[in-house]
Symmetry: C2
Subunit: 767 residues, 2 copies
Amino acid sequence: MNQDYIVPDNWSIIEEGFNPDTVKASESLFSIGNGAMGQRANFEESYSGPTFQGSYIAGVYYPDKTRVGWWKNGYPEYFAKVLNAPNWIGINVFVNKEELDLAKCKKVTDFRRELNMKEGWYERSFKATLQNDIEVQVVSKRFLCLDIDEVGAIRYTVTPVNSDAKILIKPYLDSGIENEDTNWEDKFWDTLDVKFDEDKAFIVSKTMKTDFYVSTFMKVEVDGFSRCNYENNSFKTPTYASIDFEKEVSKGEAFIIHKYGGYCTSMNHDKHELIKASKEVLAKVAAVGYDKMLEKQKQAWARIWEMADITIEGDVKAQQGIRFNIFQLNQTYLGKDSRLNIGPKGFTGEKYGGSTYWDTEAYCIPFYMSTKNQKVARNLLTYRYKHLEKAIENAKKLGFDNGAALYPMVTMNGEECHNEWEITFEEIHRNGAIAYAIYNYTRYTGDYSYIKEMGLEVLIGIARFWYQRATYSASKNKYVILGVTGPNEYENNVNNNWYTNYIAKWCIDFAITHVQEIKSNSSSDYTRISEKTKISEAEISNWLEVAKNMYFPYSEEYKIYLQQDGFLDKELVTVAHLDESQRPINQKWSWDRILRSPYIKQADILQGFYFFEDHFTREELERHFNFYEPLTVHESSLSPCVHCIQAAHLDKMELAYSFYLMTSRLDLDDYNKEVHEGLHITSMAGTWMSIVEGFGGMRVKNDMLSFNPKTPKEWKNYSFKVNFRDQVLKVFVEKEKTSFSLEGDKELTILINDKKVTVYPNNLITI
Amino acid sequence: MNQDYIVPDNWSIIEEGFNPDTVKASESLFSIGNGAMGQRANFEESYSGPTFQGSYIAGVYYPDKTRVGWWKNGYPEYFAKVLNAPNWIGINVFVNKEELDLAKCKKVTDFRRELNMKEGWYERSFKATLQNDIEVQVVSKRFLCLDIDEVGAIRYTVTPVNSDAKILIKPYLDSGIENEDTNWEDKFWDTLDVKFDEDKAFIVSKTMKTDFYVSTFMKVEVDGFSRCNYENNSFKTPTYASIDFEKEVSKGEAFIIHKYGGYCTSMNHDKHELIKASKEVLAKVAAVGYDKMLEKQKQAWARIWEMADITIEGDVKAQQGIRFNIFQLNQTYLGKDSRLNIGPKGFTGEKYGGSTYWDTEAYCIPFYMSTKNQKVARNLLTYRYKHLEKAIENAKKLGFDNGAALYPMVTMNGEECHNEWEITFEEIHRNGAIAYAIYNYTRYTGDYSYIKEMGLEVLIGIARFWYQRATYSASKNKYVILGVTGPNEYENNVNNNWYTNYIAKWCIDFAITHVQEIKSNSSSDYTRISEKTKISEAEISNWLEVAKNMYFPYSEEYKIYLQQDGFLDKELVTVAHLDESQRPINQKWSWDRILRSPYIKQADILQGFYFFEDHFTREELERHFNFYEPLTVHESSLSPCVHCIQAAHLDKMELAYSFYLMTSRLDLDDYNKEVHEGLHITSMAGTWMSIVEGFGGMRVKNDMLSFNPKTPKEWKNYSFKVNFRDQVLKVFVEKEKTSFSLEGDKELTILINDKKVTVYPNNLITI
């Protein structure tokens, strides 16, 4: 039973009716963000029911003490975690002295939330009857500006419905906040200053240890109150600032407050000038006003949608799903700042501590590369280059040397943020995804400069790691990789995970190719890199020996690669035979039971077939898909998209369609029963791939874009655009035909169903 | 480099000279206990240097919130942990108002500790020059009474050496104590009452949640002070009680205090009458006085040694080692109370939370069975029978049903106390040790009543577990056991750990044998048990199918069983090639590196060969020993003893001797660099086995004791006694001959080097 309270709509996420049980889920689903900050859809006014409060500032983190049951050597003592930031949205409301709190009202009706994705705003409205029998109507609309990304705006309206009432509105700032998940009940924020200035208030606080200075600010405009009123009614504590506005409001009269707020941080300003910077932001806001800001917001989102939108006709839920995914990705990361990355929960929750997983390389880069531009993708690769030294240190902690690099499983600043030995130490395939992203970027953009300037050093560090991590097995006369966790995290500490072995070998081969390429063709780069890395021919020939003799577990009986050694000892009962009451198994079964079961959390061998599709025949893919997919429970958000792409490729269109719904509506329909913790941001890029690479069949082949479009029978048509080497190609797929049109000024040769076709600018081609 | 500051001595543990770096180690080594309570050798007076304070009361525990990094289904939310108990030993000393604190003195000389194992007391003496240049001599002697096991006594003497001085002595009780290791900084004790009564003080406190009520009490006698002085000088806080004694002491005059203290708990008294009970204990003490109590202590220890002593002539370190081990075992557990068990750290530290591991069944039972009597061993088995329901619940949590029982890895009250999935959920071989102990007990004592009354239910629960835990592998056409951790904890989540598979099969076979035995020969027991367990013939034949077709990994090349699937893929470099700087590997290497290494923490396959020696030929044992021992790092305290026994059996006497030293002096010489955390109590029983079963070659064969005595070349002779079926046999082994003598009134037929010999009471036989 998945949740189904979200009203289907092409452009909005809508909830109707107040249900305290879905408050936390909706707080996730209706989250807003602008790449620089974001917030869960917490109520502005007090709410004493179950809620998960969260505001986040991109890049502001805290090194929390690691919590583990039993310490293992190699664990970091501290790890960077996402911090709940001071609250600037709060507006307490009192009606005839009774505080408005939806958990305590006699009656709540007409409750409605709408997240308007087209225009980038979130509105909530309701009528509530308080214990004092006064009914009020509240409408709150807020957004975080895309253009001035340090500020957001709220327009909050209270109207007494059934009688006149004395209404007190109390907008506030609060830095006395906590993380939901704290390891040691430490204080994360130290508040330095609480200040008022007429209609404005400021709280300057800094994070403990990391010393991020943040000014949280607000400016309020309340109809009927002049600025000079404000100062007399302001109130503060060491971590709190509020201003009171009280008036007698007639029945039916709207009491309106506009509140502008946000953050200026020491990442972008002098830490001593944060209030000044905040005032400058608020001055800009004052010059524009709420309505114009909202207008600008619509325009900014229109520009994003112009490039990134995917239309689907004939299937509202599918349309809503993909737009929700594209919208959230853009709320999370806009590619402007190479210090940032795409957190798995974006600005919608705290879980998973840090911000960057292999998800970025494996899933997100294609989306950003195609819907923004190559610079954004390059920023993401640069982020890893900047962390190379830390990856080398990390590998050293685990006993590797000579510049071997192991990127962390989860990170914010290059340090490992995760502490389960079976993940932290063993889920080493992540290193492969980073090399793969370099390959993918270069293949798609044709830009070799990243490899020359930065990438080769990364590739050398990674190849060194794999070389050292492999073990020579005398009994197999092959190199084996022992004790790993593959992408399928429902197996731990296995030997010879095929995916890991395969990508390890590929990484070495890929690194060697580019060492040689640069040696031959960019001798000054080679000199610089070889001096820095001390790479030698002897070392490369050692690598080659390992790559050439890598072991891959294989079953002659099934003619398939085995996910790992011993996989066939399991009781191979397919997921179809699992009782619904047992799922999701990660919530119903103890860990050992999951481990010895044959059930697969997410694509593992098939992930490899996805990355390296051209290394295998269609028949091989089909055989592996038919063997492994029925054993897959898809309890990772990253699973359905890969299977969707492969099912579409194999013309299993019904299956592909069901995977598409799963990936695109994972959070909207809460497949994995965890949406209250936040959204699955990174897998949303997988949803985009499901359409573009899955149904659209887009690949890069021989430097050309290639398509093999198919349409699920539920859809009338669909369209998407991709930016390929600074040309924008629009693809419109209908059941019987596909049209291609091109923006720009030169032609583009593409492959359509493996035939070369040249598309000319502003000239529709239909096939 | 092992530590070597302990002075070799036949009967005492001695430290000479004050070294702040070894304070924590000595606090462990000089611990005293009497089975009911125990304490680390903390100083009575203040000490501001590094120290680990610990007093413990047997059976008093606290359900601490579980700390894990990432929660797994099946973990208990709370687990019973050993609690640091209120301090009753404290005596603060002020010399001309300056507090005596060895960490702050100008000079400390003649520092000496002695733990006299023969007589059961601990003495510490030193001379210290304070910052005020006054030199004092202090002698403190204390013991915990074996006969009145709720009380201990201290005689504390301060003598000014170089001048007269005003000396204040401040004996106190303190319940404001903490555990070193707390998961959530919770308070564990709630103090209810602090009371004085003339020369006595009482603190009544109770443990949070578990509601153990404890009266901690003291009575003090100070020369030159009458009782009525006391009340005027008493001082209290909500968790503290002290009495001041101040006087001018002449140079060379001894200022002596006798302090008696201890605990009365609600485990043994009405919780509302604890002060009364304490007064009764103190009245008994008052009637006897310090000197007589000490005399009784010597007598009580003499009775223990009379039965349990092992003499070794010609090797002081070896002699000291075995006596230290026997002494500590008797300090920890005397077999009087079937609610108690043998904690891995006894009363010497907190580590490992609970008190009972498989160590009890695998290592401790033989010692207690032979040096006490069958009732003590039966108590230990009864303990597990009482926990059967909880073991069934535990198995249910992990997805097993139909009465399958999985005993916890660590427990205090039947609940699991450990939370690492690879241990808690996977180190399931512990279930086998419990069945093995039933077999071992029955074999040694000839007493079948435990199996009839209790044991068969335990065996059925265990057999059901193994039956359900095995998986049918179609590819092998055998039953496999996937995802386990064997005794060698340096491998996690492996498939087909040979030891686990072997003991699983054996457990099923053993259970079936006794179901059938009782069915045939004790029909009323059978009726009771079968009604309770619903055991059926059909179920048994299912079990049999699994036992008959159990898979055992084997190498044709080496002609050995493999520790687990895939073992031969490892790089089989022996420990001899490991650089000393890399050891112990569990302190130097990251966990993944340990896991993929071939290094073995403790006997695994060899543990199976130890348990089931008669299932294998000597040649098979030798082959496996020669293969596995060189890969073993012995970083578990439980490892050297098994290897000692097998090395002796295989006539590798030098190796056996070195293992003997390792096991017997593990803590004295701190082989594993962790003695500061407490002693390794359970492995001490393995030391006893090393001599009796290793060098003495004692086995039970066909209902008879069997010996095959050997003497390490370093020893002149050695002797031990065993209680076999209520007859005490003394064995005296010399290089060329062995003598046997028997206490009791009937003869005993034994096997000596596989030849039957009858020993008559009080009639020495020499072979």
